[in-house]
Amino acid sequence: MITPHLPALQIVIPLVAAPLCMLVRYRDWAWGVALMASWLAFGISWLLLQQVLAGGPISYAMGGWSAPIGIEYRVDLLNAFVLLIVSAIGSVMMPYARHSVTHEFGHQRTYMFYTAYLLCFTGLLGVTITGDAFNLFVFLEISSLSSYVLIALGNDRRALTAAYQYLVMGTIGATFIVIGIGLLYSETGTLNMVDLAERIAQMPPNRTIGAAFGFLVVGISLKLALFPLHLWLPNAYTYAPSMVSAFLAATATKVAVYVLLRFLFSVFRVDLSFGVMPLDMVLLGLAVIAMFAASTVAIFQNNLKRMLAYSSVAQIGYMILGISFTNVTGLTATLLHLFNHAMMKGGMFLALGCIVLRVGSATIGDLHGIGRRMPWSTAAFVIGGLSLIGVPLTVGFISKWYLVLAAIERGWWGVGLLIVLSSLLAVAYIWRVVEIAYFQRPPTGAAHVEEAPLSMLIPTWILIGASVYFGINTELTVDVAGRAAVALFGAGS
């Protein structure tokens, strides 16, 4: 009875839970509400994926108004996969939040954190599930506005300026997206994505559609921090609370990559995006620069959170690189890396959060010998790092393997070589941490630090464990990513 309404419940449950958190201020109850909402969302997204795998795309008419007049929620393999990533990350990180958030804000104000977190979670799920272009913008702004709040909650005063900078750049990006959607509407008279795709395919490419394409690509690139539009990201991730850095790094940019894929492949379709517009070459250039420039900058960072943030910019480069190959293997690699990077970078930020909780700093100079003082957290960080490099038996290897295959398939041997070369830069910045953590003695007279509490270690290890498990057993991820990639290309022919 409830099954047909799962797409709506996916959004409604966290949306209703958010104000509920504001009302229940008694001890940890707000956390309990957020935990239940996250887990329910995860269960629903799992059921949705099973439904889509079995029976194809699901269309849900919001409020009973059928598409294209009403707002349609449309779940196909691609966004069922992204929904699963976002809700899985959310539900793994919630148990972690209890200790981490209370430690950073004190007992009085935690309910506000959970309210903002749930709104952000709702926004990200909404962007992913909706089939209506304007509705996508609204959800995007719900998630962005609440993430500005979450970042500003950081203890350092620089968190405020980071949030402000992100607000200005994020709003410019969102406004570009609205202009793009408006131009598309003026040309086609519809906002439903399926309808848009059909009408755009029927008309010859003209300047209005070209302008809409340009505005949308630039706006979405700002949101996903594509080099050189990544300037907001390093500060935002560095000064945000540990839990927020981990959550945003694992989900927000992934959802933005999804939006880019949706517009390029489902709305504009391959012929227009890469045939009429030379976007593949543009993306190729920017992706390669991001891989090298951001990784190089990461090597010289003393703050490990900032190092991971720059590494994220580089990893987004790999995802965009997969798109620029414009073949099914490349797109599979992008989708795989979407999942894989969420696991490993989420896990690494959580591990770093454990260290920051006990040591009180993420500066590399304070972490001498941390491998002996906090063995579990440090080991998690290092395994995540191996995955970033792309060592076999980790998920990072699987993504890079498919990327190289796609490069060869496209005939770009040089690019395949660049992928391997840029991985060496990751070796450099991870090795720096390993050396300090394991081969240096803790300074004499350093305060004794305990290992982080189990409620934080277990979520960390679940994500790190997943990043090893899915590196060995790739059946589920490769199958879903491959089928979603084929479906995306199928829409264009």
Partner: protein
């Protein structure tokens, strides 16, 4: 040529506002002025949408047997939503400026950078 350029005046207004707002965001040091610029930038898009919905000779979209031509209400409704988003963004931006002022004692970007470099 001249006629089409003038006939599309609504677009010229939108482009002018957009560039003016964008310039303020980029060029000004004062955090509140940046928010004002951002508002003008967003307002340009509102103008663009609203003028798209206008049908020549059309009236307000309220059903009346005497009228056959109506303006398209959908862009106007969309912009109502976008205005709400804009208000929320402005409110949050200004709240952040208040907090920045409390933490740094200034709202000039240059001075904030100087203070950050010292620490």
């Amino acid at each position: 040529m001249m006629e089409t350029a003038l006939g599309l005046y609504n677009y010229w207004i939108a482009i002018f506002l957009m560039m003016a707002g964008f310039y303020i965001v980029v060029a000004h040091d004062n955090l509140i002025k940046k928010i004002v610029g951002l508002n003008i930038f967003q307002a340009s898009v509102f103008v663009l949408y609203i003028s798209l919905g206008k049908v020549t000779g059309g009236t307000a979209p309220i059903i009346d047997p005497a009228v056959t031509v109506y303006s398209n209400p959908l862009p106007h409704v969309l912009i109502l939503t976008a205005i709400v988003v804009g208000v929320a963004t402005t409110a949050l931006g200004l709240a952040l400026v208040v907090r920045i002022n409390e933490a740094y004692g200034t709202i000039e970007e240059e001075e904030i950078h100087v203070q950050d470099d010292e620490t």
